[in-house]
Every structure is written in C-alpha cells, then in structure tokens.
C-alpha cells in the first residue's frame, strides 16, 4: 500500500547535469557520523599505507604537510541524498602518496581513527581522483567533518571519503568496510545511484 501525500515534495531533487539522481543540493554541510568524533593529537597523528606484502609507508603530520599541496574544488554527494556543489579543500593527492609504493594490489581498505573502514578499488584513488585533505574552505578541517585529515574521493558517495583517516591497506582481494558489510554498495557511483548492494 502506498499513500501519496499531496504537496509533499521533500527537497527539490535532481538529476541535473551536476546533481545525480535522487539527490538534492544543499548550502549546509550536514554532520553525519557513524560514531563519536575521535580526539587526535597532531604530534601522534600518522598516515600509513600498507602494501599486500606488509610494507609500511608512514607520514607524520609534518611530513604530510611538507608534500605538495593541492586545492581541489569538487562536488560531493552523500548517500543520505544531499549534494554540496563547489566545495573547496586543501590536501595531498593520493598520486603523490602512492608514488613510491610498490604494489600489485587492486583493492584498498581505508582505515580511520575510531575504527571506521571503507573499501574501494585502488584505481579509484589514482589519476587525480583522491586526496588526503586537511583544509576546508580556506581553514583547517573541523573535527566534526573529519579533521585533522580525511580522505576525499568525490566521484563516489561520500561515505567512501573516510573521516579521521589514518591509513590505507592495499589488498589483493576486496574486503568490505563498515557500511559495505551492512549492505551498502561495494563501489558507490552516485551517477548510477549505487547506494546499496544490488542497485
């Protein structure tokens, strides 16, 4: 059974050339978290890429800051249906971080402080598609939005842009992350509306 409520539209939704299907554009930046905001001290912060062979590449906060910065401006799309256009960030490209990493892996499992994980193909972290970002709209990234640093992978639903990122594990076999084990889509392309497994 389904009642249709006349006059109820919800938020005005796409698609348009910039708003994927089922999404609406917001001026806000909603805070949605799977858990409490972790308290991370910069002098203990580290970002580690671990290869399938167990080789670790680690950067301290200062070492990350010393790498070349980029300032991408991108649209972001959350699975809960909001999209935010032209968000501006500052961070280090994953192309730079992965440059000297020797791997035959096809998959990545991203780890965050606080225990959150998310998975995606390694290819989707390359070719200018992903950054570790620590700046937002000209200032430091706020803790509730993932600060001190989060992953930014805007071409996929925003749950793949893990807040409070602390590392990436490179894997020969795909391993589902926090939401993926709960039935969310393995890939998550907003333009094909891949919210849940089987979509």
């Amino acid at each position: 059974m389904s009642i249709v409520n006349p006059g109820f539209f919800g938020r005005r939704r796409g698609p348009s050339d910039r708003i994927p299907p089922g999404q609406y554009a917001t001026e806000e930046f909603p805070v949605l978290s799977a858990g409490p905001t972790p308290n991370i001290h910069l002098d203990r912060w580290a970002f580690t890429i671990t290869t399938e062979a167990g080789v670790e590449h680690t950067w301290s906060w200062d070492e990350l800051q010393a790498l070349p910065h980029e300032t991408p401006t991108v649209d972001i799309h959350c699975v809960t249906t909001w999209s935010k256009l032209d968000t501006s960030w500052e961070g280090v490209s994953l192309d730079v971080l992965l440059e000297d990493v020797e791997t035959a892996a096809d998959y990545a499992l991203v780890h965050s402080y606080g225990g959150y994980t998310t998975n995606l193909p390694l290819d989707d972290l390359l070719e200018g598609q992903a950054w570790v970002v620590f700046g937002y709209e000209g200032g430091p990234l706020a803790p509730e939005h993932g600060g001190p640093a989060r992953l930014l992978v805007p071409h996929l639903y925003f749950w793949k842009s893990a807040k409070w990122v602390r590392g990436i594990q490179l894997l020969l076999q795909d391993e589902p992350g926090f939401w993926e084990t709960l039935g969310y889509h393995e890939y998550g392309d907003p333009w094909r509306e891949q919210r849940y497994a089987g979509d």
Partner: protein, 90 residues
C-alpha cells in the same frame, strides 16, 4: 565550541527493527563484547546515517548492534554483543 551530540538512543530503533523482529527490541538486553557492559537496546547510543543505524555501547563506544535498511531488505549485525536477551510473554 559546545560539545556536539550527534547520537540519539535505541528507542529510535523500535520502528526500523520491527521489520526484522516480531517483538519490540528496545527492552532487550545486550552485553558489549568490548567491555562487558550490559545495556538494554534503548540505552545504546545510536548514530543514524540515513537508514543506517550504529548502536554503540554507552561505556566504551564500541558498536554493539548495527542495522541498515537497503533496497532489498534489512541487514543486521549483532557481532558487537555476546547475546540478545529478549523479554517474551510467558
């Protein structure tokens, strides 16, 4: 900056979990596998992301119960509790 409270509690799970359980689950007891704390589901700290729910232990914050309503059904993860003790009519 004031502390952000981005969670609700397990009372909110009563409706969504009614799709999965024939009984009201908010009065069921859980035992956190992280710290051993016993809580009724209603007391868990629940983080809601759309139709995804993460119910965390009020003590140690480990996820006790997770549930998501997807396109084809519901997915329930109870790995974070030793057991679920459900009161049933005699």
């Amino acid at each position: 900056m004031t502390t952000q409270h981005e969670y609700v509690d397990g009372n909110r799970l009563a409706g969504p979990l009614a799709d999965v359980f024939a009984v009201d689950i908010t009065a069921a007891s859980t035992s956190c596998i992280g710290c051993g704390r016993r809580s009724v589901v209603a007391q868990l700290h629940v983080y809601v992301v759309g139709e995804g729910y993460v119910a965390r232990c009020p003590g140690c914050q480990d996820p006790v119960l997770r549930y998501a309503r997807t396109s084809t059904g519901g997915v329930l993860d109870l790995r974070g509790t030793l057991s679920l003790q459900v009161p049933l009519p005699g």
